[in-house]
């Protein structure tokens, strides 16, 4: 065992050293809806600064619970503005580091090109068996979906058809495998290069749910991490905003 450990450290130690001399790695907790854009953001960060990101995806509520319990994340890219604010109140985030890096849009989407009309009438007609959404307790996009159903007065009618993903990522996977006919997902999940990848969607009017203001926050753990600071900087720069916009986010 000892020999094994020695060998292991002989192998990994040089790697650690060279990483720390060249560039830092930031552990970033990222809300599931931002899964695609974060790849492009990480690539941009590495190109411009040499820093790299280790990304953990999940529902915002789950990531919050993990941070509360000591998860070693340097930055949180949440899907709401409440969670970063709460972390600041909890003393787990750097005060004053919060800012909105994107505003998300909710869509009703189906992998079937004929299923969802541009006005969302399909929701009233109810010609579908299963409707996927994210857990409203822990996922801001799920809470937004609940708001939409409430505003339309459809909550009671739709309740028996709802299937719940633990994050917007799972809601999307339920819909994309066809196990749910339609689903409330993030616009960023169904766009590619600014266009609908496949299927059909209803871009839900902003008036039906409160804006999904997605805030980033520097966590206590990342206070001295150069990569974390560089990421926060990058997310504020104009060209990265264009990139983020191409995934269907607004500012």
């Amino acid at each position: 065992m000892n020999r094994f450990l020695r060998r292991l450290s002989a192998l990994t130690l040089p790697a650690c050293i060279c990483v720390s001399t060249q560039a830092d790695v930031a552990q970033v907790a990222v809300a599931a809806n931002f899964a695609e854009p974060i790849k492009a953001v990480a690539a941009e960060l590495q190109n411009t600064t040499g820093h790299t990101l280790a990304v953990t995806l999940g529902g915002t509520g789950k990531l919050y619970a993990q941070i509360r319990n000591g998860a070693p994340f340097d930055v949180l890219l949440a899907a709401d503005s409440d969670t970063p604010a709460r972390l600041e109140r909890d003393g787990l985030a750097q005060p004053g580091s919060r800012f909105t890096y994107a505003t998300g849009r909710l869509v009703l989407w189906s992998p079937d090109a004929q299923r969802v009309d541009a006005q969302g009438v399909v929701l009233q007609q109810g010609r579908f068996k299963r409707l996927a959404y994210a857990n409203p307790k822990t996922a801001p996009y799920g809470a937004a979906a609940t708001e939409v159903m409430d505003k339309l007065g459809l909550s009671a009618v739709l309740a028996p058809k709802l299937v719940q993903g633990e994050s917007i990522g799972q809601a999307y996977s339920f819909a994309t495998t066809g196990n749910a006919d339609i689903g409330f997902v993030a616009l960023s999940q169904v766009l590619e290069g600014g266009r609908l990848k496949s299927g059909s969607m209803w871009l839900i009017p902003q008036g039906l749910y409160s804006p999904i203001r997605q805030d980033a926050v520097l966590l206590r753990h990342g206070a001295g991490n150069a990569a974390a600071l560089a990421l926060m900087q990058l997310l504020k720069s104009p060209n990265i905003k264009d990139l983020i916009r191409s995934y269907g986010y607004e500012f």
């Binding site: 068996k129 299963r130 709802l162 993903g165 339920f174 196990n179």
Partner: protein
């Protein structure tokens, strides 16, 4: 006292576990017998298949089930054709998934017990002109009683403890697919630690009691054998 949503999850979990155990008793018994007696070339591959759920991460099983049972999957197309509809997010689907997931916990104890029976009791039964079916039920089953008890208990308890597969194909629907393990996960994620504690304690108590009962039974039986 537990809130209604927790009681509902507990009842549902017991239902899934009981149904799964009943089905696996029916399917697992002939399968274990075949695996014990057969000289077929397929025997070892089938053995390996049966044991797969022990080593596979539940995410693998859950992912394949989601794809296979979906509208584009082979299984999904078949269940739709025979009018059962789609399996994911349904009680039936959950029972089906549990049957796959808990199969080795039923089959392996049975197999061990059946191997221990050996040839002699069967030869004796045959010489008394018992039919194969008769000798199976009058000789093998009674001799394999400990195997049946272990298999049933482990299968039931293991299904109660199922989490990953339920999370992946369940869709978290109250009263349909929201089992205790998922309910606890939900509480934890929402930082409802008091609720999580209550339900987790129930699970811990249950699992410990089941295992304790099983070990006590086995120890008493062994002591009985010696005498």
């Amino acid at each position: 006292m537990l809130p209604a949503s927790d009681l509902q999850a507990i009842l549902l979990t017991l239902e899934v576990a009981a149904l799964t155990t009943a089905i696996l008793l029916g399917v697992g018994t002939p399968l274990a017998w075949w695996l014990t007696r057969s000289r077929s070339l397929l025997r070892q591959p089938v053995n390996a298949l049966v044991a797969l759920p022990i080593v596979l991460p539940p995410s693998v099983l859950g992912f394949y089930l989601l794809v296979l049972m979906g509208p584009n999957g082979t299984l999904g197309q078949w269940t739709q054709a025979i009018g059962l509809g789609l399996m994911p997010f349904s009680f039936r689907g959950l029972v089906l998934a549990s049957c796959l997931y808990s199969l080795p916990f039923m089959v392996q104890p049975l197999q061990t017990a059946m191997q221990a029976v050996g040839e002699r009791p069967l030869e004796a039964a045959m010489s008394l002109r018992a039919s194969p079916l008769d000798s199976f039920f009058s000789v093998v089953v009674p001799l394999c009683r400990p195997g049946f008890i272990t298999g049933t208990v482990m299968c039931f308890a293991h299904t109660v403890g199922e989490f990953g597969v339920v999370l992946m194909v369940g869709g978290n629907i109250p009263g349909v697919t929201r089992l205790v393990s998922v309910q606890i996960y939900d509480h934890v994620e929402a930082l409802e630690y008091a609720d999580a504690h209550r339900l987790a304690a129930v699970m811990l108590g249950f699992s410990f009691a089941v295992l304790l009962a099983l070990y006590a039974y086995n120890a008493r039986r062994r002591a009985g054998d010696v005498r």
